[in-house]
């Protein structure tokens, strides 16, 4: 399971948090954890929304 993380300053969402180990994954195409996240999303899953 993942949760989107909002930039505290710009409010942009550029990071997703992997809840199993509290790892912060940037939206970087070459990052293998990000690739795994995209695969998870493509399988029909939806991350938790960012905190307001």
């Amino acid at each position: 399971m993942y949760k989107l993380i909002k930039d505290s300053i710009t409010n942009d969402i550029t990071i997703v948090k992997r809840l199993s180990d509290n790892a912060y994954i940037p939206f970087a195409p070459a990052n293998t954890d990000y690739q795994a996240y995209l695969k998870w999303v493509s399988e029909g899953h939806t991350p938790l929304p960012a905190d307001e």
Binding site: I5, S8, I15, R18, A23, Y24, P26, A30, T32
Partner: protein
């Protein structure tokens, strides 16, 4: 020192290694980082849990993709004497006598970044021949299997080698002819991977060891290789792994420890622990990174630069050392009271560094934490 210079091979040194006219193997001779297994940032020489299915010592993966619990990996496992000239090796020990299923997949794997093999010109008519050399020691003897492949596993170079004597270091050499076909990453993805089988199911044993590249649809090694996971207590150790652009093996390239650590840190870096500490395993404040001193009830933003530029923007894992307790994943703590300040709040993660946004309470003074960055392939 003898040098032979000719128009075909360029410069030939007295150890038989070549400095080609176009390529320069003495600048980038060994494409394997941590081939002598000295660097172990994650585990600092301790045994990895049998549930490991990923990186062990720096840059080296132990795959247990079917079912974990079959192998334990460790730097200098068993404390045997390494081959002459080496101080470290990577070892695994089988935890059971396991018969691999058709889709089981146990192996050592090393992923070479595309930038570091781009000059080999794979996928073109100018593809270069390389030589793999490594030292291996096992409690088992017989034929063992391995392969090279591209990132999509659509190209495979299956090979075998023989371990003749049990519990004895033997050096093996594999010639790898350049692949003139296929699609090869030449930037920051996987350019070329090496896999040494520790027990592979039939799905992955369709390859033929005939010194050539072949089209594949998945990982492809020769059948009949010895299964390390098939024997309870079996050991398999390697070190001195070198892949060089050359038609024969030359002496292992020695690097300064600083250089080797920095090469590893492109892919994994721990900030706040010394090299002999395992992230998440210690307590107390020693070594922690301290953010800006903020005063009470305020916010601050700090930026941290990595010691080495990463392969890509890395995944970050934070640890907070609440006073007197084992480090806690994902939190930062106040450096005055040791109380938790809640979840870490990174932003702007990049290959050069990251930012962290801190909010303190009325009784705190600033956030304190350590962080691990992983940009592994």
């Amino acid at each position: 020192m003898t040098l032979i210079v000719d128009g075909t091979s360029g410069v030939t040194f007295n150890d038989s290694s070549l400095q080609g006219a176009a390529a320069s193997p003495y600048v980038l001779k060994n494409r394997i980082i941590n081939g002598d297994m000295r660097i172990d940032q994650r585990y600092a020489g301790t045994a990895t849990a049998s549930t490991i299915n990923g990186y062990t010592i720096d840059r080296w993966v132990v795959n247990q993709n079917a079912s974990t619990g079959k192998l334990i990996a460790q730097q200098n496992q068993g404390s045997v004497t390494p081959p002459a000239g080496f101080t470290n090796y990577l070892g695994v020990t089988s935890q059971s006598a396991y018969t691999v299923g058709s889709t089981d997949w146990y192996s050592f794997q090393y992923n070479i970044e595309g930038y570091n093999v781009a000059d080999l010109a794979y996928g073109t008519a100018n593809a270069k021949t390389c030589t793999l050399s490594f030292w291996v020691r096992s409690s088992l003897t017989g034929t063992f299997a391995g392969t090279f492949g591209n990132s999509a596993s659509t190209r495979a170079y299956p090979f075998t080698y023989t371990i003749s004597a049990a519990n004895t270091w033997e050096q093996k050499t594999i010639t790898v002819y350049g692949d003139t076909s296929g699609s090869w990453n030449t930037t920051n993805g996987v350019g070329l991977y090496l896999m040494l089988s520790l027990g592979m199911g039939s799905t992955y044993t369709t390859g033929t060891a005939n010194n050539s590249w072949a089209t594949s649809t998945t990982i492809s090694i020769p059948s009949g290789g010895t299964s390390v996971v098939g024997t309870n207590g079996a050991t398999f150790y390697i070190t001195g792994v070198q892949l060089e652009q050359n038609t024969s093996a030359t002496p292992f390239e020695r690097r300064m420890i600083t250089n080797e650590i920095q090469l590893c840190q492109r892919y994994y870096e721990k900030c706040g622990w010394d090299q002999n500490s395992v992230p998440g395993s210690t307590s107390g404040y020693t070594g922690s990174i301290v953010s800006n001193f903020m005063g009470t009830a305020s916010t601050a933003f700090e930026g941290i630069n990595w010691m080495v530029i990463k392969r890509t923007a890395p995944t970050l894992t934070f640890y907070g050392s609440i006073l007197g307790a084992t480090e806690t994943l994902g939190v930062v703590v106040d450096f005055n009271s040791g109380n938790s300040l809640g979840a870490a709040s990174p932003l702007r993660i990049a290959d050069c560094g990251y930012g962290h946004f801190n909010t303190t309470t009325s009784s705190s003074y600033g956030a304190l934490y350590r962080v691990v960055a992983s940009a592994e392939l």
